[in-house]
Symmetry: C2
Subunit: 113 residues, 2 copies
DNA sequence: CAAATATTCAACTTTATGGTTGATTAATTA
DNA sequence: TAATTAATCAACCATAAAGTTGAATATTTG
């Protein structure tokens, strides 16, 4: 009964932002706007290839999009997909809080009898 | 200038919810309240040990807490730490949206000159 | 056209992750 | 007290993840 597709989408999305470098890349892109791969890479203490891979991971999670002009690839943040994750968190918290409130009512003693 | 401690806390938290089984465990705990390890494990198609490990991961991310009575360990969801993740998402989205709005103003043509 | 540049692809290494089984520890119950 | 039960620990395995280097592929520029 659990939506496997949503579940795996959620896993991919969450994993993609679980890495510090990728979170930094996203921050950088949100703050400074679209940038080329080499530009992005210059900020990190790792090979261009490593950064290129991180970008591909963000891309396949649909958190960035790529536009290619000749040999230059422009990478741009696209946080629409954040909604999926945020919904999950919101939903979890509401279930959790509901139980706590119900428990609280029980402990305080139901007034209705 | 980046807070390394916060960063690694965030990574640990996000990683801990990036796994489907752990998300399911959390859901189960939020919906049904505290449960023992064996009870929890009975719902999954994997060994008790595997589930026990998942619980430990959630525990060290401080998303569940454990209370021991004799040989029974009661596990309870505790989503207070969600705030950290939610703050990050909120902050990212606001940076992203700010840039988009600024860009939009630019394209529409600044009225101020 | 040759050299330089931007990027990815491929192969490899190391370490982390998610799972297993078998043994151990501690608490309960018959 | 012996057997059962709840849970972890330890060692292991397979796969995934994060990084490296070197080569390949386009595109641009001198």
């Amino acid at each position: 009964m659990v939506d496997d597709y949503l579940e795996s989408q959620l896993s991919e999305l969450i994993k993609s932002v679980s890495d510090t470098t990728r979170r930094q890349l996203l921050t950088q892109l949100c703050q400074q706007g679209p940038q080329r791969v080499t530009e992005l890479a210059s900020c990190y203490d790792m090979s261009l290839n490593a950064v290129s891979k991180h970008i591909k991971i963000l891309e396949s999670a649909q958190l960035v999009k790529r536009t290619t002009y000749g040999r230059d690839h422009w990478i741009e943040a696209d946080l629409h997909r954040f909604e999926l994750i945020e919904n999950w968190f919101r939903q979890m918290k509401s279930i959790w809080e509901l139980r706590l409130e119900a428990l609280d009512r029980t402990l305080t003693g139901e007034k209705n009898d």
